[in-house]
């Protein structure tokens, strides 16, 4: 009898933690969703479910029928292209560096790891000011390459570090066997290294892609033309006026938030093992 009471008490205690945690997590997200499916002016009624749920806001967004949304599709496309470019370039830069350091044991590899780690720890907002000035010297301001290259700079140190940790775990015998068979460095890279590294490559590729898609600060500093900016910057424009159409902002925000969330959940397995193991080595 007392044992079962103890069990009930234990379950109750778990629920007492779980329910507040769930509310804390979901309230801002649900509020976003509620606004996106509410008619203008009825969203603040305090109801938990709108009287007349509607998809009209999404229709306005998709048809670009508002001053703030004139370039919605183009900005969505910009976000996508920039994220893909950052993902691809970061993967290239980080994989080659990790391979050279970990498998080819290039001289000075340790130093390269240290400078990568150092860059990783510079707070991104601190680097933003000099980065902005530098891009203007390079003549890249208002050019999407400036954002792509800045994001590659920010994403690659961590990717190199994660990939190097993973490469160090591959058995040396594989390299030796490949060398015995007469493989050159590039064949080793292509035929042995890359196939074995796929899970880590997926993790860091996804990481850099999401980092670029989600970035706001660098995007709004480096790009300013309405036709160049990413969706993140376009969302920030809604803040310019007090009477902004909030329901449209929320609908656009929801559309903007869905792809990264979907990608995250699709690759969760890789992300969690790759990134948590990498983020803090205990």
């Amino acid at each position: 009898m007392s044992a079962s009471w103890k069990k009930v008490g234990n379950e109750a205690r778990l629920l007492l933690i779980g329910i507040p945690v769930l509310l804390w997590t979901l309230v801002p997200v649900y509020h976003l969703f509620l606004f996106a499916i509410s008619e203008r002016d009825s969203a603040t009624s305090g109801r938990l479910w709108p009287k007349h749920p509607t998809l009209q806001n999404f229709e306005i967004v998709f048809q670009q029928k508002h001053f703030y949304l004139n370039h919605f599709w183009l900005q969505m496309f910009n976000s996508l292209v920039i994220a893909l470019a950052v993902g691809a370039i970061t993967l290239f830069v980080a994989t080659t560096a990790a391979f050279a350091i970990s498998r080819l044991k290039v001289r000075g590899g340790r130093t390269v790891m240290n400078i990568a780690l150092f860059t990783y720890f510079i707070p991104a907002a601190f680097l933003a000011v000099p980065m902005y000035k530098t891009m203007s010297i390079y003549g890249l301001l208002n050019n999407q390459w400036s954002l792509i290259l800045a994001m590659v700079t920010i994403a690659s140190p961590y990717c190199i570090w994660v990939l190097k940790q993973a490469s160090d775990k591959l058995p040396w015998e594989l390299d030796e066997a490949a060398r015995m068979d007469g493989a050159g460095p590039l064949q080793l890279f292509r035929l042995v290294y890359l196939p074995l590294m796929v899970p880590s490559l997926v993790a860091v590729g996804t990481y850099s892609l999401l980092l670029a898609w989600n970035e706001y600060l660098y995007a709004f500093l480096l790009l300013s033309n309405d036709t160049d900016v990413t969706l993140a910057v376009a969302l920030g424009h809604f803040l310019a006026a007090d009477d902004s159409p909030w329901e449209l902002l929320m609908a656009t925000g929801l559309i903007y938030a869905l792809p990264p969330a979907a990608i995250y959940y699709a690759f969760k397995r890789y992300m969690v093992s790759g990134l948590t193991a990498g983020a803090v080595k205990s």
């Binding site: 606004f35 780690l117 510079i122 707070p123 969302l235 903007y256 959940y265 969760k268 803090v280």
Partner: protein, 284 residues
């Protein structure tokens, strides 16, 4: 004779392994030189005049910002890490519904910050926000102007930061807890240890180092958290809720680059020791 001299003078041909080792590390070194070394060097050069620092210290906003940043780092990060440590104990319990909660709990970290921060910003809107409209319906009184109060504004920015990054750190600490052998807890249960004793003598000693590393890493990164403050309060009211991350950008937009760089340089004595500490921990 001549051949040996020539042979010694000519550069030794690189083995393909050495050649490709250098060639493959080159792309990153280029990125580093062009987009880290040059900007940082140029930034430090811009911040070379002592007059910039005099101007910076004369700016009352800077003083307020420094305090805000310290409060943010000391209060918000420690609060967040303690909650993450406690919650990691909740998430390792095996129940089907806890796995569901865990999957949803990641959401703040998985979605971009802008939509969710703006959602909270509108919740707190004094006239139309859901909080004050509900308060008005219930009491007939006007609710407070949440983000127009510096203390409340900064507190909400800190809560926003916690909301966004708590899942990530909880996940890290869950990984830490899962690495502790279950036998230790079983043995302790046999000996009749209480919940607190198990934490005090098994969990904490095993997690201490991970917890410290995570806290310091989170502090360094939080210095770069621009979104939680800028998108919620915009640094207002009257520039009283800025942190270093937003102040530098504010100076930049006012075309006072020397002040922007100076505000970053004065933070370096605080940041660099933490960075080197982290490099020694993770660089091994």
């Amino acid at each position: 004779m001549t051949t040996t001299v020539l042979g010694a003078a000519a550069p030794k041909p690189l083995s393909p392994w050495t050649f490709w080792g250098r060639a493959l590390v080159l792309p990153y070194l280029l990125v580093f030189a062009v987009f880290v070394v040059f900007p940082v060097g140029y930034g430090l050069w811009l911040a070379r005049h002592p007059a910039s620092y005099v101007k910076l210290f004369d700016d009352p906003i800077f003083f307020r910002t420094a305090i805000n940043t310290l409060v943010f780092i000391v209060v918000a990060i420690n609060l967040k890490m303690m909650v993450a440590l406690a919650l990691s104990g909740f998430f390792v319990v095996k129940r089907w519904w806890i796995s569901v909660v865990a999957a949803l709990f990641i959401l703040p970290w998985a979605v971009p910050s802008i939509p969710t921060i703006l959602s909270v910003r509108f919740m707190l809107n004094p006239e139309w926000g859901v909080i004050n409209s509900t308060y008005f319906r219930l009491t007939g009184l006007d609710g407070p102007n949440w983000l127009n109060d510096p203390l409340l504004g900064l507190s909400f920015s800190m809560l926003m930061h916690v909301w966004k990054s708590l899942p990530f750190w909880t996940l890290i600490l869950v990984a830490g807890r899962l690495a502790i052998p279950a036998e230790q807890y079983e043995a302790a249960s046999v000996d009749g240890a209480t919940r607190w004793q198990k934490f005090r003598f098994i969990t904490w000693p095993a997690m201490k180092s991970l917890y410290l590393t995570s806290t310091i890493l989170s502090m360094i990164w939080t210095l770069g958290d621009f979104n939680s403050v800028y998108l919620l309060t915009g640094g207002g009211p009257a520039d009283l809720t800025h942190v270093l991350a937003t102040l530098g950008i504010r100076y930049l937009r006012l075309d006072q680059v020397d002040l922007a760089m100076a505000s970053i340089v004065v933070a370096l004595p605080l940041v660099l020791p933490l960075v080197f500490f982290m490099m020694r921990r993770l660089g091994k």
